[in-house]
């Protein structure tokens, strides 16, 4: 139905999001083109901060680390999530309880996730850390870069695989039973059923899972902040953490704002891909 009065329904949302998104974003854009000394002394510098930001070697290495981290967690979490979803019972009374169990990591505050893994992996008081030490491994995530990365990856897989699993499970339960019966009549193997019956029908939820994990991992801040603090050295400093240290730690408003705008544009691009893929699926249904 075409009716422009529907705008009235959207108005409250518009106002609240304008307040919490547009005004701040305009502030950021404003900062990104000025050099600010104090409230009254500001110079228009055009795109200088953008140039400086793009050439900043620390930012480039943070970006490379970010890309590596996001690719690794996608490569781990997507297959594992599908596997977990396939292991879940499809029917019966226990399903709800299994889902609650899987959802637990998603509902733990992000800094507590960091704390849990800190307490679990510390070489002195952690079950994992101390066990590895006793087995003769020289494991210490605060000193070794590789150890820090492995711990971070184990933590992120622990934290977010459930999301992929829940999405994949929702996709699996939507496949009509007749498809399986037909495949069984044709004598299809388990792998063939997965490859030719299940996977094609999972494409839409898996696209969503990949894009969600990609975008959310691109913003990761709290968990590494608590666990490793970005160290040892800068080896686990990702984009959000670098930005935060720039804006709050060093108070470099101009570069931080330019960085923010670029960061936002990249996420916006990912978001657009996400939106079009969801909408295409909906229109196809």
């Amino acid at each position: 139905m075409r009716d422009n009065r529907a705008w009235l329904g959207v108005l409250p949302v518009l106002l609240i999001v304008a307040f919490s998104a547009v005004i701040p974003l305009m502030t950021v854009v404003n900062y990104s083109v000025q050099d600010i000394f104090d409230a009254n002394t500001r110079i228009f510098v055009g795109l200088d901060w953008y140039r400086e930001t793009l050439r900043d070697p620390r930012l480039q290495s943070a970006l490379l680390r970010q890309i590596l981290f996001s690719s690794l967690i996608l490569a781990l979490e997507i297959p594992l999530g599908i596997l977990v979803a396939k292991s879940l019972p499809r029917a019966g009374r226990s399903v709800g309880l299994w889902l609650v169990l899987l959802a637990i990591p998603l509902l733990i505050p992000w800094n507590v996730v960091g704390t849990i893994w800190q307490l679990f992996a510390r070489p002195d008081i952690g079950l994992l850390g101390a066990t590895l030490q006793n087995l003769g491994f020289d494991y210490n995530y605060t000193a070794g870069t590789l150890d820090a990365w492995l711990t971070l990856l184990a933590m992120d897989v622990w934290h977010w695989t459930s999301l992929v699993a829940l999405l994949a499970f929702a996709g699996l339960t939507a496949i009509p039973d007749a498809y399986y019966q037909a495949a069984r009549l044709d004598g299809a193997s388990r792998w063939q059923i997965f490859r030719h019956v299940e996977l094609p029908r999972l494409t839409s939820v898996l696209t969503i899972a990949v894009l969600l994990r990609l975008m959310d991992s691109f913003m990761i801040y709290t968990e590494p902040f608590v666990l490793t603090g970005g160290g040892p050295g800068n080896s686990t400093t990702f984009l959000s953490q670098y930005l935060t240290s720039m804006a709050v730690g060093q108070f470099d408003l101009g570069p931080a704002a330019a960085f923010s705008v670029l960061y936002f544009l990249v996420v916006l691009l990912l978001c657009w891909l996400f939106y079009t893929s969801v909408m295409r699926n909906r229109d196809a249904d």
Partner: protein, 266 residues
């Protein structure tokens, strides 16, 4: 059809639960015991750490602060998102697709980008260090999310329901509150779940927008280092307590969760 879990699922749940078990284990021991020995079972379990948290006003007010802004945020999000989602699902209007995408893009915005402007904005209007400030800041991602989820659920309700109510002579508000809302109550449950989830777990904005009087529990936790070092037992107990509200919420909406995920709208 599979009605019993595969053994892989048990394996995965061990991986899921062992770190949480360790957290619970540490929360039941005192600091000297934790630092002194590594034992799979607490030899002398006590609830002293929990008592410490409940009796210390810094901890307990942290909990109340967190629950307050999460509740305010969830209510605001639902109230503004319901009419908007209805408009998006039932009507075509000028710029609707663009508006919908723009809303969604905020769900994906990195909070770190908004750190500084939020601090200045809320300080300027005198809301700094209040529950409302954090609740409004979290609206940045919970409102788009709520619209996004509710629209999905509303779109799955056939339009003929609207028309039948009109033919039966029901007023618009009677239809909306007595017929339509009950029909999408699963969607409302899922929306509450996700608003709660994203507001409860967030640290960066909550930390930036609060000082002393509205300090949330997650911020109290990052500052537990006392003169004698970190009290691991108390930290673990606080961690255990932050898991409980989420567990309660997910338990109530467990039967609707799969539908929410099936729409892919998280």
């Amino acid at each position: 059809m599979r009605t019993r879990p595969h053994w892989l699922l048990y394996l995965y749940c061990v991986y899921l639960l062992v770190p949480i078990y360790w957290l619970i284990n540490l929360s039941l021991r005192d600091n000297a015991d934790i630092l002194g020995s590594l034992s799979a079972l607490p030899s002398d379990p006590s609830f002293a750490n929990y008592l410490e948290i409940f009796s210390n006003p810094v901890w307990s007010s942290g909990f109340i602060n967190s629950l307050s802004y999460v509740a305010i945020n969830t209510v605001i999000s639902l109230l503004v998102a319901l009419p908007a989602a209805y408009a998006f699902s039932r009507y075509r209007f000028v710029g609707d697709r663009h508006l919908f995408f723009w809303l969604l893009s905020n769900r994906m915005a990195p909070p770190a980008v908004f750190l500084l402007p939020f601090f200045q904005l809320y300080s300027a209007i005198g809301l700094f260090d209040t529950h409302l400030a954090v609740a409004l800041a979290h609206c940045l991602f919970t409102v788009p999310l709520a619209v996004w989820i509710l629209e999905g659920f509303m779109a799955s309700i056939p339009r003929s329901l609207d028309e039948m109510a009109r033919i039966d002579g029901h007023s618009r508000s009677f239809f909306f509150f007595r017929i339509f809302l009950p029909a999408i109550r699963g969607g409302i449950g899922v929306t509450v779940f996700f608003c709660f989830m994203f507001s409860w777990v967030e640290l960066l904005l909550a930390r930036t927008l609060t000082g002393s009087s509205a300090k949330p529990i997650v911020v109290v936790m990052t500052r537990t280092v006392s003169a004698s070092g970190v009290d691991w037992g108390v930290l673990a107990a606080a961690g255990v307590l932050t898991i409980l509200p989420g567990l309660a919420v997910v338990y109530f909406v467990r039967n609707h969760l799969v539908r929410g995920f099936a729409l892919g709208r998280v």
